[in-house]
Symmetry: C2
Subunit: 560 residues, 2 copies
């Protein structure tokens, strides 16, 4: 997997370099390295979600091989915030990095629960950082600057070296009157800008134009209004479990009308535990489990549900399948489901199917098309310009966005007068100091796939074969011959995803196999390769003519 | 597949019934039956496109079994217009229907080319209808009413019986100053409304709110402006081949700046042939093939391309892959690609990937987010209300839309004072005449999948297995034993989509098989079922522990 040439790049001790190793282009897998004086600082270690062209793959990871070879020189992994695309790969990649992990208390709860799942708790060294803290890791001094996002304790990082300071934003928005946490510390950003910032490494998620500057407070107001509007029915609100701010807003709305809150979905309970362990949610009553909610009268409970993206076995899809009197919460005619989330591209069909199922039971559906029930946790309107006006970097490094977002982001940076703008690919090495920033070359970077219990390269043969099989099926023929080439026992054929199990075509193919064997010239009866090819051809011809399929195929030719 | 009870519904001779057999809920597969006096009239016969959860399936068809059993009583298949979701299933289902096909010249060209592909030309009887024609088919009199859509000759049908008249709209918009064809015949609709319309069966595609009333003429103006803005570079415009109006607009823009037009993509040439054969495009010069365009200087050709949805082997993806000097048209830095189309839900990722590939070559991309380069061929703004104000039916039958669209459509119908509104499921039978319309019950309806050369039910075992295989892989073990249970020859194992072909785990599994055989108690050595289960368990345990996978599995146990 490793291209040897890519490792030959020379980085001198006095060069301060930035290398995106995941999350430079595209969404997910945030994984960034800063190098200086032979030491390496890592920011974030997130996972990505596979598309439907990757059958069987659970999640994607950034390839850590460049850093794995420099393990002893890694001074630490610093986490900006606790979302999966920033912390989700830690458990998978820790063996390759084996460094201390620095994060704030809320992120720490979730990181430790991940390490625990992997049996790494106690082996990986996690270090708590409080907001506003400054930590020293080798030649790097890192200051945590409070930002605003959809979960507790999002931070931008000011990374100082003798060569200058880089601001690495993580995910952020400029909600100056946030529900959750405090307003972003624009003072600190401005103060850094006043002194001079070498580079700004900045999220691009909403760069192409989230125009609405509606806030979480506005969403909260809408939810209160809606909950009041439907007093005597069940109400479920679907949201991302990672959207802690939204959970708070929903609970607020429930309290306004005296409803208790029930959580449906494991990931919501996990977030709840992390939040309560770190001092959030403490003024809220304990949430109800589904069992506890069962006996409560209609209109007295508000349900928060996972599955707003139409995920198959999630809470909302379960709601759509409930029937009365089955020992689970039943949603039916006149009940209400609010989708307090956006549609993530790729999930349109699954969401539409879920909404169809809910509608067909007479459940009223409210989405962000109908009312202000969702705002993005990322910046909006002119926030990005404001960021550049505060920080005034010499170099802009838009990251974490599709091509379109990166292009828009670059335009904003140029418009704000930033002299140098680079949209790097993962693996590209940029020397930040010096007269002008310079791309020094490329180091190994790529994507790994978590496939069952294995971690394999994204282009692995098994994934390619699975993709072929899902269109064409697979087939195996077993043929036992003696040394003279006479067939012993009955040939057997297995096909997967081709013939119905009771299809007469199975016998038809075996009959053709017998015919084909009979037609093999005597001098070829000892030629395994020839027989193998003849069998393949016979099966392929039948399946291609009758079924239009070319399956993956093996012949088990056994000589006794 | 046929539920016998569903066939037992009794429809009396004096009942005028409407049965959607495809396309009632959802997009695609338009296939509607009207019954009266024991005779059946079919409107449209379209196909649907499978999602990624249907591996290997090329397209979807409505199940024709209800009509196939009444073949001799079918008076004809009448086509509203030539789009795939209205004519695409004709070739596949003709054997089940075997009736005459009535359509206007442009649709006829495309229907005949489909029949030709299936070897049915000359066997299926196609009858030309001109716009404004009235045809008599058994107890039905059908009037063709010109509408406006994105292709030539779209028609609404007024279906008259002694019990009243139904207007069946097909796809439509009310562009009163269209580029292609004439303005919709609102006079005819109003005249029918004045006399009294029993029911309106109406498309729901844009019911939830395409607000912009921009027209194809506006798109044409934008294209002219854009083409003038980039005089000396290659320009490619991606659009749906079925959007004949758009092709005209693009050619108009090319002529404004003196560019020749080259078509890239087979389906564009097919539409071009049908259009020219029926008197369209005749004032346009012949289009260039790719070979002819090769020698033309940059800035002198405008390319129309298929693949605006990111389809893998389409023209736009080919453009993204071109390199200079390869004997094909090369697009590179500063060239322009315009996506003159919308994003069809489900295609977001493929389109984003295509745009990424184009951008990375320095190609400038313009989409409908940047400029007015696309309008829908379906109604917008208050057009739907206007339709109800013209027609004033007793019964509204919203069809062809997802739940959300159908719900919005129903609201509009009620708001316009329609007394009865029904959103039927495919297979539901509605008696239109009588005091009040009445759902009589259900007949067999469903979806078939074109899988290679076979047509199989959507829930067929083979598709389910393929879906499992694509996540979990498949495995076959061959074990040859003598009557005493001794292993003869070498056991062989094939796995697909699980182990790399050079994986040592293949040998490891075979070693465990040998171990497992050795541990079978002597009295069980003649028990094929026991041995089979032991082998399955051995393989499954290894793959589950090490790979986290549970493949489809077969054991070929052969006794010699």
């Amino acid at each position: 997997m490793i291209d040897e040439n890519k490792n030959k790049i020379v980085i001198s001790d006095d060069q301060f370099v930035f290398i995106p190793l995941g999350g430079a282009t595209g969404i997910g897998m945030n994984f960034f390295a800063y190098g200086y004086k032979g030491k390496w600082l890592i920011i974030d270690c997130g996972l990505g979600f596979p598309g439907e062209n990757l059958p069987g793959v659970e999640c994607l990871l950034p390839d850590p091989s460049f850093l794995a070879e420099r393990k002893k020189d890694i001074v630490g992994l610093v986490i900006t915030h606790a979302h999966e695309d920033h912390i989700g790969a830690i458990g998978y990649l820790w063996h390759d990095l084996q460094c201390s992990i620095y994060c704030t208390p809320f992120a720490n709860e979730l990181v430790e629960s991940k390490l625990n799942e992997m049996g790494l708790l106690g082996r990986a060294d996690t270090c708590l950082v409080k907001k506003g803290d400054v930590i020293n890791l080798g030649p790097f001094e890192i200051e945590f600057i409070s930002m605003n996002h959809s979960l507790p304790e999002p931070n931008a990082l000011a990374i100082r070296t003798a060569e200058g300071v880089v601001i690495h934003t993580g995910d952020w928005r400029l909600d100056l009157d946030p529900i959750l946490g405090q307003a972003p510390d624009t003072e600190a950003l401005k103060a850094l800008g006043d002194k001079g910032v070498l580079a700004l490494v900045c999220d691009s998620t909403n760069a192409s134009g989230e125009k609405s500057k509606a806030t979480e407070a506005d969403v909260r107001d809408t939810l209160v209004r809606l909950v009041k509007q439907f007093p005597d029915v069940h109400i479920a609100i679907g949201c991302f479990a990672s959207n802690v701010a939204r959970m708070e807003s929903i609970v607020y709305a429930a309290q306004e009308v005296g409803r208790e809150v029930c959580l449906l979905g494991r990931s919501l309970w996990r977030i709840d535990a992390a939040a309560r362990a770190t001092g959030y949610f403490n003024d809220m009553p304990e949430f109800l489990s589904e069992d506890e909610a069962l006996d409560k009268p209609r209109g007295s409970v508000l349900f928060i549900c996972t599955g707003s993206q139409g995920e198959p076995y999630s809470a909302l899809n379960n709601l759509a399948a409930t029937t009365p009197n089955k020992g689970s919460v039943y949603f039916g005619a006149d009940d209400v489901v609010i989708f307090s989330s956006r549609v993530i591209p790729g999930n349109e069909k699954a969401i539409s199917l879920l909404q169809k199922r809910l509608s067909s039971k007479g459940i009223k559906i409210i989405t962000d098309k109908d009312d202000l029930v969702h705002v993005s946790g990322h910046y909006a309107g002119d926030d990005l310009e404001k960021m550049y006006q505060l920080v005034r970097p010499k170099i802009a490094l838009p990251v974490h966005g599709e091509t379109l977002e990166l292009t828009y982001h670059s335009k904003v940076a140029r418009k704000c007068g930033v002299p140098f703008v680079f949209c790097l690919e993962d693996g590209e090495v940029l020397a930040l100091n010096g007269e002008e920033p310079e791309v020094l070359g490329e180091v190994p970077a790529g994507i790994l796939a978590v496939d069952g219990k294995q971690i394999i390269p994204l282009n692995a043969e098994v994934i390619k074969k699975r993709r072929k099989m899902m269109d064409e099926g697979s087939a195996v023929l077993t043929l036992v011959l003696n040394k003279e080439g006479q067939v012993l026992g009955q040939p057997q054929l297995s096909t997967f995803g081709l013939l119905a199990s009771d299809s007469a075509d199975n016998d038809e193919i075996l009959a053709r196999i017998t015919q084909a064997m009979a037609s093999i010239p005597p001098e070829k009866l000892s030629d395994d390769l020839f027989i193998n090819e003849t069998m393949r051809h016979t099966i392929r011809q039948f399946l291609s003519e009758k079924y239009g399929k070319k399956p993956l195929m093996d012949i088990h030719l056994i000589r006794i």
